[in-house]
Symmetry: C2
């Protein structure tokens, strides 16, 4: 008998997380082996609360528009599944709603959650197919060439630093000499490094990139900025939020810790801005895009968007046709240029909790820029623009009905 | 005998200042009354330095692409013309290069510069046509319905807060409760107010807008944020960099003063972020787009872009055909919906140095939002998207040859 499916979003959103949602939901609605298609409200929290939106009730046109919707369309969460009580509750809800498929769309913490649920199903003998759908602007998941979400946030980053550097360049003769943009990336420098993708078009953009994989040295950094000022008259900098010194201490620490123990970082821009003012006496502008970097749907990358849709659709295909379970969809690159790739799977257990940092050969010998190897890797991921729609001058998106399934518990 | 023309850019750039440059240069190159077309390097500084780029040497395709180019394509400046010595030098350069037309593209400080040059020409009996071309993301110039640049920065602002609020909304159940975005606008709240243009599509975006026209009260502000948290579970805030308290003191002051005596503001986002953490104990994310707000060419408004081209082209038309001088081009609105407008001129003297703040009837009775009247005013200005081109995944722009005219002094 056909079973029901639950899809949920977890962790920080990306510009294309809803493209994956579209991939899952549109394919599940068309599948013969799946009966009802649910999306949990606010990630796994919606399962715990028995709050499930019925996708079968939505209009087809709105399902299509999901792929263009910023944010997390069903709500996301930062909730860790740790206790037997939580797991019992999850499976009571699954049982009550005849759930046979569970898809969790998130980063490494979310893959841990998916893995815990997969293991528990085996333990209690509940027939459940579990799939992880990768998603993170940080691009730090193991065993996949890249993560959906990264390409779009990278495209935003490269575009923003290109445009802001053109601004700086215009003003530098009689005004601001330094522009500094802070980049997200809690554990790895993938996003900061993506700023270098602007250089092919504007060679003076992001000429100083501070990645967390390279220990920060104040002396060397200030010297590097001064070199740029001498060479060009201005300096364009991108700095990762997660910079550490030689001793491994974060340069900045906003003091938050989430339920997975991640320290929430921020404000490296303020630390470096003050440093440049105090030590070099240069006029500086600093930007902190924050959520803009991971939410800018309007400048999503076409490649990334297509990947995001396909990882969702493939998970449904593999679960429903091939009975695969306990896996995360991965992207395998076949060629850099022209860029071609295929999809595969990896055991959830091997992804959970792991972090992929920038390989040493992606960072150049100065430590302030990337190598050609990184450019060849990252460039295909930001190529192309999506066909967006606007209403009243701002991006238009899906307006779902959000019909909640009747509670049974 | 046909005379030569000098165009120059001044003050902070906008996403469409180069669209005005295109309007001027393309029309001047096609004019029978104008012989050579120059663009000064770095604004009026390029005239002082006798550094003039010869536009007649550029390829036509690159001239066309100027309209898509971020930053100030010839360099801008913050230089005040105050002394007889500066004026003498300017007119020596004009004389040496047979300049009969001078167009200055900028904000109110730049219109002051254009006016001083216009007056001096009359005083010394030098035959010079002078025109000001309005440009400022701040939208604070007098005697024009709006300023080219504002619509595009407003479109960026409304889009960014819409997308970031969708992000906040997704996460608010178990994580961040407040998102705050700082907005430019040194003297007036036009840009902060433009965040409200997101509300038609996402009603929870920018529900608290802090405009400098309304004296900031900590107590009322925190109460307003709490109301939003109770109502929606989260709160989306846009705050102008130029907030002042009841006594008229700036909440934040980075300590810079430019050559026109403008205090350079910033970091209101940090002040308010700390306030919300300390007083309401809420998890908050704060963004400071800074240059991104005035440089985001990729999300330029079509209406604004067309206005920017036309103010440039009309200035050339009126100078060369009608012998008009000492004026700034203005935009006169004929209807809100459908939006139609025409162009006119105003005496430079009446624009110079003045500032247009938000009218009282554009701000609602709470002081934290705008009125329908503001929406009707601002909405047409952000409508439409420009047909952008990308290369390697980032915006492509004009690559000029920048041939400098031989110096004669």
């Amino acid at each position: 008998m056909a079973k029901n499916l639950v899809y949920a979003q977890s962790g920080g959103v990306t510009p294309v997380i809803n493209a994956s949602a579209y991939g899952v939901i549109a394919s599940a609605l068309n599948s013969d082996s799946i009966y009802k298609v649910y999306s949990a409200k606010n990630g796994i929290q919606g399962v715990l609360d028995e709050e499930l939106f019925v996708m079968n009730e939505e209009r087809k046109a709105e399902i299509e528009k999901m792929a263009y919707t910023p944010g997390g369309i069903f709500g996301s969460c930062r909730v860790k599944i740790e206790t037997e009580e939580q797991l019992n509750r999850i499976f009571s809800v699954f049982k009550a709603h005849n759930i046979g498929y569970f898809l969790y769309n998130g980063g490494n913490d979310s893959m841990e959650t998916a893995f815990v649920i997969f293991e528990y199903a085996k333990k209690i003998g509940y027939d459940l197919k579990v799939f992880g759908i990768p998603k993170t602007v940080d691009n730090d998941l193991l065993h996949t060439d890249h993560c959906p979400g990264y390409g779009s946030a990278a495209k935003f980053t490269a575009t923003a630093i290109l445009e802001a550097t053109r601004d700086l360049k215009s003003m530098s003769t009689s005004s601001t000499k330094v522009f500094l943009m802070e980049s997200m990336g809690r554990h790895a420098g993938w996003l900061a490094a993506s700023a270098a993708l602007s250089q092919e078009v504007e060679e003076s953009a992001a000429t100083v990139i501070l990645m967390p994989e390279v220990a920060f040295s104040k002396e060397r950094f200030l010297k590097r900025v001064e070199e740029e000022i001498i060479k060009r008259g201005f300096c364009s900098i991108v700095a990762s939020e997660a910079l550490r010194d030689k001793k491994g201490m974060f340069l900045s620490d906003a003091g938050y810790t989430d339920s997975f123990g991640n320290v929430q970082l921020g404000k490296i821009s303020s630390v470096l801005e003050q440093m440049i003012k105090d030590e070099l006496k240069l006029k500086i502008h600093a930007a902190l895009p924050d959520y803009l970097q991971r939410s800018s749907r309007h400048i999503a990358s076409l490649t990334d968007w297509q990947d995001a849709i396909e990882v969702g659709a493939r998970a449904v295909l593999w679960m429903s046709k091939d009975d695969t379970s306990g896996k995360m969809v991965t992207i395998v690159r076949d060629m850099d240029q022209p860029y071609i790739r295929h999809f595969d799977t990896v055991e959830l257990s091997t992804v959970a909790g792991g972090t992929k940092t920038l390989p040493a050969d992606f960072i150049d010998e100065t430590g302030y820029n990337v190598t050609e190897k990184f450019i060849n890797y990252a460039r295909p991921l930001i190529i192309g623009e999506t066909p967006n729609q606007y209403m009243y001058g701002v991006p238009m998106y899906s307006k779902l009905k959000y019909c909640l399934e009747e509670k049974r518990l």
